[in-house]
């Protein structure tokens, strides 16, 4: 499961970047940031939320946050899992995707709301997800993916600025 560090890649950091060395001083941050990605995006056992659904949720968040690198990453991930054009469009928030499973539509609607305005979540929204067939565990998984990509976007944006400053 070990592979490329997603944050380094998205922030455009070469292995020799001083910011990569800086991250090396905080090994637990690096390990558990990548570990969270592995657990949420590429788990060996995805249980009740499929790999496609996880990638679609991540793409929805990256798209709303407008992080070009992470958007490209999750779009490629979703496509590699065999998602069709309608599904990728839905995950990027483009309307008119009629061929997307209703369960994924319900998930993506929820994700868009809580990414844009986390305070507008409600019990009724979670009840709607349960009506769409999601178990409590699935709801937690989706919340974790949203929360993780929201974190990842800001780590990448901050480190990118730091790297640009270092090279200025």
């Amino acid at each position: 499961m070990a592979g490329t560090d997603i944050v380094n890649g998205a922030a455009g950091l070469s292995p020799l970047s001083p910011v990569v060395a800086l991250r090396g001083q905080r090994a637990a941050f690096v390990r558990h940031t990548q570990g969270s990605y592995d657990a949420l995006i590429i788990p060996a056992d995805p249980a009740g939320v499929s790999l496609i659904e996880r990638a679609a949720v991540a793409l929805r968040v990256a798209s709303i946050e407008r992080d070009v690198a992470l958007l490209a990453h999750y779009r490629a991930r979703l496509a590699a899992l065999g998602a069709d054009r309608a599904m990728v469009s839905a995950a990027e928030g483009e309307g008119g995707a009629t061929d997307v499973p209703p369960r994924l539509v319900a998930i993506l609607d929820h994700v868009a709301v809580v990414t844009t305005a986390p305070g507008s979540a409600s019990q009724a929204r979670l009840d709607a997800l349960r009506d769409a067939g999601l178990a409590p565990r699935d709801i937690v998984t989706i919340a974790q993916v949203v929360a993780f990509v929201s974190y990842q976007v800001r780590v990448v944006a901050g480190l990118r600025a730091l790297a640009q400053e270092t090279h200025a």
Binding site: L22, R26, H32, L126, D127, I139, S150, R154, G158
Partner: protein
């Protein structure tokens, strides 16, 4: 942007979905709960539904908030309160406002942020932290090296800025979990 809901008093939290029951939790769930800040809280008993992610998130959260050296703990707490105010997370802001106050003995700084908003008059270091935390929270794509200049001006080195970035990002995470899986309630 004054908001009377934000408080320095303790707040509790209730889940909108059934939580894991300690009596029926798996050994992995119990171990992940043990590694979390409050293993008996409904919040962590909710997150324990997905033990794979909790096993990573708890040590990440702990490292970001408590790793030695680097950004002083009070500065990390201040940043997380700012993020929580922007996102409207009453529970998170209460917890970390109190941590900041315990560390600094200066609860009045938080009270001013609550009462007067993020533009309230602050000493230069706090001003720099508040402004950076607000920008990285609201418009991460607009953050550039120019936004680091005020942090450099108050003496922050690379590691301190690295830690600040992660504290802000961690609360983009924490607020979304807290605010989308349940709600704050008055202590009962």
């Amino acid at each position: 942007m004054s908001n009377p809901r934000f408080t320095l008093d303790a707040v509790e939290w209730a889940a909108w979905i059934p939580t894991v029951e300690a009596a029926t939790a798996t050994p992995r769930q119990l171990a992940a709960l043990e590694a979390s800040p409050q293993r008996d809280s409904p919040y962590f008993l909710t997150l324990a539904h997905d033990v794979d992610s909790l096993e990573q998130r708890s040590p990440l959260f702990h490292a970001v908030m408590y790793a030695p050296r680097g950004l002083p703990r009070a500065d990390r707490e201040l940043a997380t309160v700012v993020v929580s105010i922007i996102n409207g997370c009453v529970y998170c802001s209460s917890v970390h406002a109190r941590r900041f106050s315990e560390l600094t003995k200066r609860p009045e700084i938080i009270q001013r942020l609550y009462d007067e908003g993020l533009d309230t008059k602050l000493e230069p270091r706090h001003r720099a932290i508040v402004d950076f935390a607000a920008k990285l929270t609201r418009t991460p794509q607009a953050v550039t090296p120019t936004d680091l200049k005020p942090l450099r001006a108050v003496g922050m080195d690379d590691l301190q800025i690295h830690d600040l970035i992660h504290a802000v990002a961690m609360f983009a995470n924490a607020n979304r979990l807290m605010q989308t899986l349940g709600e704050p309630i008055a202590p009962g």
